[in-house]
Amino acid sequence: MIKFENVIKKYNHQRALDGINLQVHRGEFVSLVGLSGAGKSTLLKLIIGEEIIDGGKIFIDDIDIAQVKKTDLPYLRRKIGMVFQDIKLLPRRTAFENVAFAMEVCGHRLDKIKIEVPKILDLVGLLHKQNSFPNEMSGGEKQRVAIARALSHRPVLLLADEPTGNLDEVNAAEVLDLLMKINQLGTTVILATHASDLVNKIKKRVITIEGGKITIEQQKGKYKL
């Protein structure tokens, strides 16, 4: 589904990614581990076309990302959900409205939004909080709303960039469980994190990045650094 061929990304002549070769198949759950600054976030940003590669090729479903026109990028992004460490919810909108917002901007009809949003909130276990504002929710709940928002387009791929970075253990576990559940429902998930205990719990494919290079690849791996 995703294929990296000798991908190079530079920031000010420094190589953030240096010759990445990687293949992710449909339905996989891949953990991307490494220290801060190892290149995990950069790798995810390349997938959604937010950064442009300086060498090599990236294919998503056999489409070369470099060939995607700038005006078509939004449509690519609708196929890919993304969640972040800093969550990025709109503070003046309720959980429902935050999820609905993502559907609105993509031109969905209001009646469809009213049916779909409660379903998605139910999936992340937050239907009872649909009228709560972000400041009335815990960190874990907020991140689950963000996941619900990322799922609103029914993406084939979910990218999670340190989604548990600001959360305590209990909340982090909640979020991780949700990501695994979503993966079981068929969505490919790529999780970038430096939380070793989480990765050890998942027991799925682990890719370790150091200094912009893949150093270790394990099919049912543990965090090793």
């Binding site: 959604i48 939004p74 690519l76 992004r77 990025k88 917002f101 993502a102 901007v105």
Partner: protein, 305 residues
């Protein structure tokens, strides 16, 4: 492509942005209004002044009255001589009998005049030449020539109403409008562009989070830009409406008064209704160009898509 739902949502978001920054939006609208008022004032002054100059210029002529009973041949010779002068544009000859008929026709309702005319045995009116010069400054030269010794035996009187002073003054006003007015207009265009640029920049800054999220969940570029353009279109619409309202009295009172003063026979009033719609259209076009271009500059600089 944009569907109608997205279009409506863009408009709605634009209006929300306008209302959320109400004070700033009002300031931007006011500055735009001032610019439009200056433009309209200049435009109308220019049109009225050049209209007045034209009208007055057309009324200027030299009337040459021949001595009564002068032979038709002699008159024709003089007429031909005058026509050959390059400074003369047009010569019209009104014979004594024509003048008499015209005079009678003009006063046919006045019994006293009609009666006294009937008592006359011969035509008391002289034959006349009406001369129009090619250029305004040629009039005194031509008039002087007609008053010279050469024609003293044939010509009774040369009548030349010197409107040049008025016309020169109007020309000065026109030049002033063009130079000073355009400078003032340019200054306000610059101010309007800067104010709108800054207002939109602020809106972009206020909506930074929202824009970032929109981008990440796959909103199209025009969906993100649209509300900012809507907001700037609202400055244009409101400032055009306000300026339009301010200029209603000008169109209903001032313009008819001026045109009536300059040329009582011609009523421009009917025309000015059309001109009003025309002016509104120009104003709207001007304000859209100004606000949309400054918004596009702001978007280009600050809106990361």
């Amino acid at each position: 492509m944009l569907d109608s739902i997205s279009f409506l949502r863009i408009i709605k978001t634009g209006i929300t942005n306008f209302v959320r920054n109400l004070w700033l939006s009002m300031a931007a609208t006011m500055v735009m209004t001032i610019t439009l008022v200056i433009f309209s004032t200049l435009f109308l002054l220019f049109v009225l002044t050049s209209y007045s100059i034209n009208t007055i210029q057309n009324t200027v002529d030299i009337s040459v009255y021949f001595k009564i009973g002068l032979a038709e041949e002699q008159i024709n010779t003089i007429k031909n001589e005058v026509s050959q002068d390059p400074k003369v544009k047009e010569v019209t000859y009104v014979s004594a009998s024509q003048a008499f008929d015209e005079f009678k026709a003009k006063h046919e309702n006045d019994e006293l005049i009609t009666q006294s005319l009937n008592e006359l045995n011969e035509n008391p009116l002289p034959a006349t030449l009406h001369i129009k010069a090619s250029e305004l400054e040629d009039y005194p030269v031509v008039a002087e020539k007609m008053q010279s010794e050469q024609y003293a035996d044939f010509i009774d009187k040369v009548n030349f109403e010197d409107n040049r002073l008025i016309i020169e003054r109007l020309n000065k006003v026109l030049n002033f409008i063009i130079t000073f007015g355009l400078a003032l207009f340019a200054v306000f265009v610059l101010i309007a562009v800067l104010v709108i640029y800054n207002t939109i920049t602020l809106t972009i800054y206020n909506r930074k989070e929202e824009v970032e999220i929109m981008r990440l969940v796959g909103a199209t570029n025009w969906y993100i830009r649209g509300p900012f353009l809507t907001e700037s279109m609202m400055y244009s619409i409101f400032s055009t409406i306000i300026t339009g309202l301010l200029f209603i009295p000008v169109f209903t009172k001032v313009i008819p008064a001026v045109t009536n003063y300059v040329s009582p026979d011609v009523s421009l009033y009917n025309n000015s209704v059309f001109n009003y719609a025309y002016l509104l259209l120009i104003l709207f076009g001007l304000s859209v160009v100004l606000s949309v271009s400054s918004t596009l500059f702001a978007i280009r600089k600050y809106l990361k898509i």
